[in-house]
């Protein structure tokens, strides 16, 4: 029997690593990958809670999170591609032309 706190620990660790990657890295592609890590951590917690409560509701929510992650990856990559075509760059520092 897996203790629920171990599941929470693993999910939170992956979430925090993802937050660190989004904040710290400047490479846009690696930032998007860290977003995937973040959502994966949430999914682990949802699956664990689903098993803990004996109800499939957590798994249903995790499926919706996966749908969201896929859409975010697709749109994010479209934006990275169009930014790369315009600027020939892929670091987040260049994305500051709307600064007032």
């Amino acid at each position: 029997m897996i203790p629920i706190s171990a599941v929470f620990g693993l999910g939170l660790f992956m979430f925090c690593v993802g937050v660190f990657g989004v904040l710290f890295r400047k490479n846009l592609v690696i930032m998007l990958m860290s977003l995937e890590l973040l959502l994966n951590g949430v999914n682990i917690i949802l699956a664990g809670v689903s098993r803990h409560l004996g109800s499939p509701r957590g798994s249903v929510f995790a499926i919706f999170v996966i749908v969201m992650a896929v859409s975010e990856a697709a749109v994010g990559f479209a934006l990275v591609l169009s930014y790369f075509r315009k600027r020939k760059a892929y670091d987040a520092d260049g994305l500051s032309e709307l600064r007032g």
Binding site: M1, I2, I4, S5, A6, G9, L12, F13, M14, C16, V17, G18, V19, F20, G21, L23, F24, R25, K26, N27, V29, I30, L32, M33, E36, L37, N40, N43, I44, A47, G48, S50, R51, H52, L53, G54, S55, P56, S59, V60, A62, I63, F64, I66, V67, M68, A69, V70, S71, A73, A74, V75, F77, A78, L79, V80, L81, S82, R85, D91
Partner: protein
């Protein structure tokens, strides 16, 4: 007992892979570690009796998203390593922020008394999952399909070469 051992194995793999994704300098190495993390997460789902989630994780993440990442890195030609220099103070803040967040959440989780596990596991099979997804959550399910259609059209329009108003 053996389930716990398998859970710890896949959990350690997933955690180590996650750290390696973030600290790699080369984006292609990051993608390969992301694939490792995603597959290990699928193993974690299997040990948590969420077989459908594990299968979807392997299909969608391992087969779809990782390949998409690899294609984009090849198109963008992410060969040279970006210099990521920061001053000391922002660097410390950006390291401390997720660490503090994690410490706080772990404190809260440790202090919480979780209810004992429900015990009955008949609610975890595929049939009840499908019933809940297609009965209770039918409207969000349909909205999710509309979202996917919008993303399909939007991603094509954003990523195409010419703008819509360009006559050629």
């Amino acid at each position: 007992m053996i389930t716990l051992a398998i859970f710890v194995f896949f959990g350690v793999l997933a955690a180590a892979g996650a750290v390696l994704v973030v600290v790699q300098k080369n984006a292609m190495h990051s993608v390969l570690y992301l694939a490792l993390t995603v597959l290990a997460t699928a193993g974690v789902f299997f040990t948590l009796q969420a077989e459908y989630l594990g299968a979807v994780q392997i299909l969608v993440y391992g087969g779809g998203i990782v390949v998409l990442y690899i294609f984009v890195i090849i198109i963008v030609n992410l060969k040279e390593v970006l210099p990521e220099k920061r001053k000391l103070f922002p660097r410390l803040v950006l390291i401390a922020l997720p660490a503090l967040l994690g410490a706080e959440i772990i404190l809260v989780v440790v202090r919480t008394r979780f209810a004992p596990p429900a015990g009955h596991e008949r609610g975890l099979d595929l049939a009840s999952l499908a019933e809940m997804l297609l009965k209770t959550y039918l409207v969000p399910f349909e909205i999710a399909s509309v979202l996917l259609l919008a993303v399909l059209v939007g991603a094509i329009i954003i990523a195409r070469r010419k703008s819509l108003h360009d006559p050629d």
